[in-house]
């Protein structure tokens, strides 16, 4: 082999970037530059904040306790949890488990409990005869009689769920409760895109979330008293829907990364079929159009793009679909 042969061999390597890979790379780039997660430093910062708050809470509690006796007979107990070492309290017919890193302050008065969750994931289970549990988190408060409630608090995010939703919250945020494979990292969460944004021009992030929000409404504690059965069923269905649509989109991305357009197409078509009102449908439709173009099925691509042009929620998506439609029409 000569030097010229080496040169020719390198020149012959396929350095082309097809539309699908270009688009997906852009989705990830856009997401990364929009909100770059300083992973290590934020975890360190979070730890430092938790440790500082824990020390401050303990000192304050000791000082207050030493300085005065509560006039109303209430007792306050701090809960401090670190990853892998949850804190547990059983009081007044309730079992409270705090998964860390996190802090909570539990106050008991007249056989009633209230808890202020400063950070971490709290799971509360009621046993028979217990009174309602008051939960305060992120500046919001609620009173619950649900058999099982979970609330997760971290900087910028508060989520609460009862029943099946509480299980989703625990799975997402409480790594020591479930195991690493099912856990989302405590930092850096955001919901699925409000406007699904597959094309490069949009400002909403389209790829499946590194960040997730469980089914409960964000920064808002759900009304808790005596959950309605229909609402509980709808919530459970909603939890199922959000997880599955997102999972389908994520699996489709994985398939595309492995250049398996057929598998990606099947997953995205399933998403459209099973979750027609999900916020990811526009992204799925756009990706299917790209795949159809790559497969040479320009008629199918055109039909999908026409649907987006007519009905996509985000005007940026409609614009991108128009541009891609114009490019497809050239074939």
């Amino acid at each position: 082999m000569r030097v010229g042969d080496i040169r020719d061999a390198l020149a012959s390597l396929d350095g082309r970037l097809d539309d699908v890979r270009r688009h997906h790379a852009w989705s990830r780039i856009e997401h990364a530059i929009a909100e770059p997660p300083p992973a290590r430093s934020s975890a360190r910062g979070w730890w430092l904040a938790v440790a500082t708050a824990a020390v401050a809470a303990c000192v304050l509690w000791l000082v207050v306790r030493a300085a005065s006796t509560p006039r109303d007979g209430a007792t306050t107990v701090p809960m401090i949890a670190t990853p892998g070492h949850p804190a547990t309290i059983e009081r007044a017919g309730l079992t409270l488990v705090l998964h860390g890193p996190g802090i909570a302050m539990v106050r008991e008065r007249d056989a009633a409990l209230s808890v202020v969750v400063i950070g971490g994931t709290l799971v509360a289970e009621r046993h028979s005869g217990s009174r309602a549990l008051a939960i305060e988190a992120g500046g919001n408060a609620t009173l619950t009689r649900d058999a099982r409630v979970a609330v997760h608090v971290e900087p910028g995010l508060v989520v609460l769920g009862a029943g099946e939703r509480s299980k989703v919250i625990v799975e997402r945020f409480a790594s020591d409760a479930v195991g690493a494979a099912t856990v989302a990292p405590p930092a850096a969460v955001s919901p699925p895109p409000d406007a699904a944004a597959p094309p490069p021009t949009t400002t909403a992030a389209s790829p499946p979330p590194r960040r997730i929000r469980p089914p409960a409404r964000s920064n808002e504690l759900a009304p808790a008293v005596a959950a309605d059965a229909d609402e509980a069923d709808a919530d459970e269905a909603d939890a199922h829907a959000v997880v599955d649509a997102r999972a389908l989109y994520h699996d489709a991305e994985v398939a595309l990364s492995a250049h398996d357009r057929a598998a990606a197409r099947r997953l995205l078509e399933q998403l459209l079929r099973d979750f027609p009102r999900d916020k990811l449908v526009d992204a799925a439709r756009f990706d299917l159009a790209l795949i159809a173009n790559a497969d040479g099925d320009h008629a199918r691509a055109g039909a999908l793009l026409d649907e987006l042009i007519a009905g996509a929620a985000d005007p940026n998506v409609r614009d991108a679909a128009k541009r891609l439609r114009a490019a497809s029409a050239a074939h």
Partner: protein, 172 residues
């Protein structure tokens, strides 16, 4: 594409930079690294780094040169940590119309070429690819690798000498 446009409408300007250069970046990564499966990740890393570096861009070279500069840095970082490619990694690169024997021979030839290239130091490898494969001038190469054109010329020459020795040694 000007970076002044980026300051006025950062998001769409950066996206335009991406659209204009993504193909070139991917091609350069392919020439430098072979059909490495992490090329797409490296493509993303290049543009993420580019986004961070844009505020420091003074317009003293073209945007393409600036992009290539970052691409070569990303590629060099990757060269230092990845495993060598095997002949099987080149299977997708080979024309499907070949006979099985031709297919295997071609994969091995590509793997040899990339393997020989990998024996160069990263800076000589970059210089060789930019000059011999991408066809850039020594001045352009110098700007990309932040060296004088004469230094770029020397690196290309040394790369060719080393490769000639390696190929002679293999052929013996």
């Amino acid at each position: 594409m000007t970076v002044r446009a980026a300051s006025a409408d950062a998001a769409s300007a950066f996206e335009a930079i991406y659209r204009e250069h993504a193909e070139r970046v991917f091609a350069l990564l392919t020439r430098l690294l072979g059909p490495d499966r992490e090329r797409e990740d490296l493509l993303q890393e290049t543009f993420i780094r580019l986004h961070g570096a844009l505020p420091r861009f003074r317009g003293d070279c073209s945007m393409t040169t600036f992009v290539y500069r970052i691409t070569t840095r990303v590629a060099i970082d990757h060269m230092r940590r990845r495993r060598p490619l095997a002949a099987s990694d080149f299977s997708d690169e080979v024309d499907a119309g070949l006979t099985p024997a031709e297919h295997v021979a071609r994969c091995e030839q590509l793997a040899r070429a990339v393997g020989l290239l990998a024996q160069l130091s990263p800076k000589h490898r970059v210089a060789f690819v930019l000059r011999e494969v991408m066809g850039l001038s020594h001045e352009e190469i110098g700007t990309i690798v932040e060296a004088q054109p004469a230094a770029a010329r020397m690196r290309v020459a040394k790369a060719k000498r080393v490769l000639a020795k390696l190929t002679a040694k293999e052929d013996r």
